[in-house]
Subunit: 187 residues, 2 copies
DNA sequence: CCATTGAGTAAACAACTGTTTGCTGAAATC
DNA sequence: GATTTCAGCAAACAGTTGTTTACTCAATGG
């Protein structure tokens, strides 16, 4: 799996060959079948690995509480740190979210759906969501998750200066969204 | 190019073979070199084709004026119509925006940057942006473009019922963003 | 009307592809 | 201490890959 992740730095998953993977891993082609039935099988395993670490991140980003301003700064910092530490995983998820291999795509979608539900639950418990309908809370949760994934995807391929710009913009955007949240009238 | 687009329904660009493309196009392998130096070359040509039609869409989505509510409904409808009529192009852009082939990725990024600038200019001319700083307008433009691309990407792989849900959510999200815009204090 | 160009072809090249088979040796289990 | 499982190997299989070469033939243009 590490070998595959290394190769995926420069290509998409649907362009990966299994001989290529075993060569990079330093073993014989036949050895592959001891661990996975398919390349798609490996892909699904990579999704689970990649989004397990992301799971902790989501929790961390929503854990702290205090002023909205500080909350946002903290969340963006958590994302940036996560990307720096798990660049290959983030790239993989960003690349294959709409990629060409159906089982991988579906595994990512299923996992992101779980995140969205988790975020929705966290939002519903905040006082700011008092009186909100279920659909409205979901809608905001999707907005947050999509924004988080897109920010991570952008950061993953950014140098130091670009990273500064992206995080600055992300903070502003989150502020605008939270402003919209405060003035929303749910019905 | 049509043949390639057809093959890209079920795989990513970095998994495409040129023999595969010529076979689908009904010609001999050598014929490929009469039109493109590379597969990457073909990819860049596809980006231009795909985003030329999207260019019209952006214009159309921002053309109408009236109540914010109607504006949003109109914009979402324009997006949904576009996806239905250019499904293959939309899928290609969504898939390769963070895909494994650098020249293609960069061509998409450059074209989306042009859209963002165009949207930013349109926003700056609206009365709602009076007194806004340049960076704040850019930030909102990026939010809109990203949201549009992501909505299109989701729609591209949706059936009729899912499409209904996605457009409903997208409208709500745009309303929230526009609400945030109204209460933003630029500095 | 003749020359040039554009767009196509077939054939050949070595290199690489996914998968199966039968084999080995170490580790774990009973 | 014997046996079963685990994780690896080399070799072979027919197909497929990107690229080059020398060729045809219709359309275009002066």
């Amino acid at each position: 799996m590490d070998a595959a992740l290394r190769l995926l730095e420069h290509q998409s998953f649907s362009g990966l060959g299994m001989r290529e993977v075993t060569r990079e891993a330093g073993m014989s082609p036949a050895g592959f079948y001891r661990h996975f039935r398919d390349l798609a099988d490996l892909g699904v395993a990579l999704v689970e690995e990649a989004l397990a670490s992301l799971h902790e991140m989501v929790r961390a980003a929503f854990a702290e509480q205090g002023e909205p301003e500080e909350l946002i700064d903290h969340a963006v910092k958590v994302i940036a740190d996560h990307v720096r530490e798990h660049r290959a995983h983030v790239r993989f998820v960003a690349r294959e979210r709409f990629g060409g291999v159906a089982p991988v795509r579906e595994a990512i979608a299923a996992e992101l759906e779980r995140f969205t539900e988790e975020v929705a639950q966290a939002l519903a418990e905040q006082p700011a969501s008092a009186g909100w309908g279920r659909a409205d809370v979901r809608m905001v949760a999707e907005l947050y998750v999509d924004h988080m994934v897109l920010t991570a995807a952008a950061l993953q391929q950014a140098d130091a200066e670009t990273e500064r710009q992206i995080t600055a913009t992300a903070r502003r955007q989150l502020r605008l969204i939270s402003l919209g949240r405060r003035h929303w009238v749910s019905g």
